[in-house]
Symmetry: C2
């Protein structure tokens, strides 16, 4: 069986050992005679899965006790609606501030506008989102309900290296492409959400981490299944949840623990990113698209100095088992998404290909 | 490898051949070198999957051309919010009527009350939902935006044998436990929704069938990912969808086609249900809980005349590979969920066990 190095931005590659384990017990979950995907979300077997997922997440992340873990429908983008519905009512002014660092930050801001008074607190749109803009939390009105940021921008290849200190105003972060890829001080955040399909599991579910005191303020027309307090009360089982995604997340967390946890994976991720950035920086043939200070370690975006060679680059890479390197349709070029599951060998193979391609076409 | 007969109400058993196919290509989807679960929702491979799912669904169901097929987040219960948000604005009075035939009908009605003026058009609550209540559509106000029914009631084991003719008022049906298990005249409905996890695939996604002219009337605060018009415009790919669930649905539809389609499966389902109902009706040891005229062919619910034997019944059944026969916690007793994937042999094995158990304990 062939396995490529899959550089897709998401749904992304999962660790091969996780995929093998899921395959091996797909039809007969640990002697039950049925697959985990085929049994009740209220069975004792699934209860054990969700409890173990909670416990592993807490152990790996160091999430403080006053934060809840919720498994919510609809992926990260559904939270673009749920976050304002749950949090904008924290303050009667119904104000929130958004920092625009890319496409998803912008979609989130536009969606929030249905629910209150939204301001753009800072934006890097004028430089095509090649950086994280300067943002001074002191500029916020004191009655702002929350501040929204996007931790890592998959399309533009940037990330927040330092998170802003918003004081008493809750900081909400879309950490879809970073959660558990780097150490975080969770106390800096009021809420974090992340679709699973980058570092945590398959598509179709998101995880929400929320400080307990922020629950229970949902707007009156909030659908029950967008109300975080409903998930909290029901242990995310108000209705039939995406049991298979939670199970896969559990396997991914077990794998991450085997790797040595977040400290080890973060160092590995930095090493992987450096391999590719060094190849870009040591050549005039490749041009990085993000400002160096704000470079993502999850999504390395670059262009060829001769952009007319991009299609050849992608097609030759694909033939060598370097899959899904095409940049997002909004920006073009090349994007190497190198989430936790991408082995160092994948990045080394990409760098070797880049050097060879340059030699033949430079 | 052992496979039990899984009578669980959902997430429910999937056909073994479907499970085997998904397992065999789990790590390497048709030579790609990556699993389908690991690749982009915008890849050509996934495009082919969703297109094939659409085509097979239309072929098997005979869905008229003026109905759209949407793959929506959150399962059926999220539609309890989405249906009023999308449809109650069809008429300025913002009225809708609900027929209460069980627990899920009642949850749907309560959720809808956030969004408009909801009336209970008929209810069988006074007889503990043992039947489908009489319902006269002529009693509806002409400015009612829609009428909501639950096609099959999994907890109480009843179903609508004939659907009401609501004339110009769109009939909306939660068909979670029946879609593609029986022939339907789709023209009778304005919209149908169904969670996948009974007859269509795994949990974590719902399918919505909606008449085109009912799109585009969402209330202004409807989240983008609950707005059916957004799904329609984006071919259900406004954001990263639950690709694995759609893929599994595709495999289930291929299997259903191999079985001979809906006509064949409906006849088989009726035969399966009759085997168990005959065992109930020919004995004083077992007591069916639904009125005969309204019996479900998907969920056969019954009690033991000596209810103190229920636990022994369940535990002995489980030892014989008859899994998850426990009735819902609201009603207790026994429930055999016998969706499309349950083979006739499973029902025969259950009947044999019932007769043996009666002989030993009668």
């Amino acid at each position: 069986m062939k396995r490529v190095f899959n550089f897709g931005a998401g749904p992304a590659m999962l660790p091969t050992s996780v995929m093998e384990k899921a395959r091996d017990e797909f039809l007969d979950y640990r002697g039950l005679g049925a697959g985990l995907i085929e049994i009740s979300h209220r069975s004792k077997e699934f209860d054990a899965v969700i409890d173990r997922t909670d416990a592993l997440f807490r152990e790996l992340s160091g999430l403080p006790d006053n934060y809840r873990i919720l498994y919510v429908h609809g992926g990260a983008q559904m939270q673009f609606s749920a976050i304002p519905m749950n949090l904008i009512g924290l303050n009667p002014a119904h104000k929130a501030a958004y920092v625009e660092t890319g496409n998803f930050a912008s979609i989130a801001r536009k969606e929030a506008q249905r629910y209150g008074n939204i301001t753009v607190a800072a934006s890097s749109e004028s430089s095509n989102f090649d950086r994280i803009p300067a943002f001074d939390p002191a500029s916020l009105d004191a009655d702002t309900s929350y501040v929204h940021i996007t931790g890592n921008n998959t399309i533009f290849g940037t990330r927040w290296n330092q998170f802003p200190d918003t004081g008493k105003i809750p900081l909400v972060a879309d950490m879809t492409s970073e959660l558990l890829s780097r150490k975080l001080d969770y106390n800096q955040f009021g809420a974090i959400f992340a679709g699973l399909q980058k570092n945590l599991g398959p598509a179709g579910l998101a995880v929400v981490l929320i400080r307990e005191d922020l629950l229970g303020h949902a707007l009156p027309y909030t659908p029950a299944l967008l109300d975080y307090a409903v998930y909290n009360k029901s242990h995310s089982l108000q209705n039939t949840n995406n049991t298979f995604a939670i199970y896969m997340m559990c396997l991914v967390l077990e794998w991450l623990k085997e790797q040595g946890g977040v400290d080890v994976i973060e160092a590995r991720n930095e090493h992987k990113a450096k391999l590719i950035y060094d190849a870009i920086d040591s050549s005039d043939f490749y041009i990085g698209s993000a400002q160096k200070a704000d470079r993502s370690i999850m999504n390395v975006t670059f262009n060829l100095a001769k952009p007319e060679l991009s299609d050849t680059f992608l097609s030759e890479a694909n033939k060598q088992g370097l899959y899904a390197l095409k940049g997002h349709r909004l920006v073009g070029g090349i994007r190497a998404s190198i989430y936790n599951a991408m082995p160092v060998e994948g990045c080394e193979a990409l760098v070797a290909f880049m050097k060879d391609f340059e030699q033949r076409n430079g």
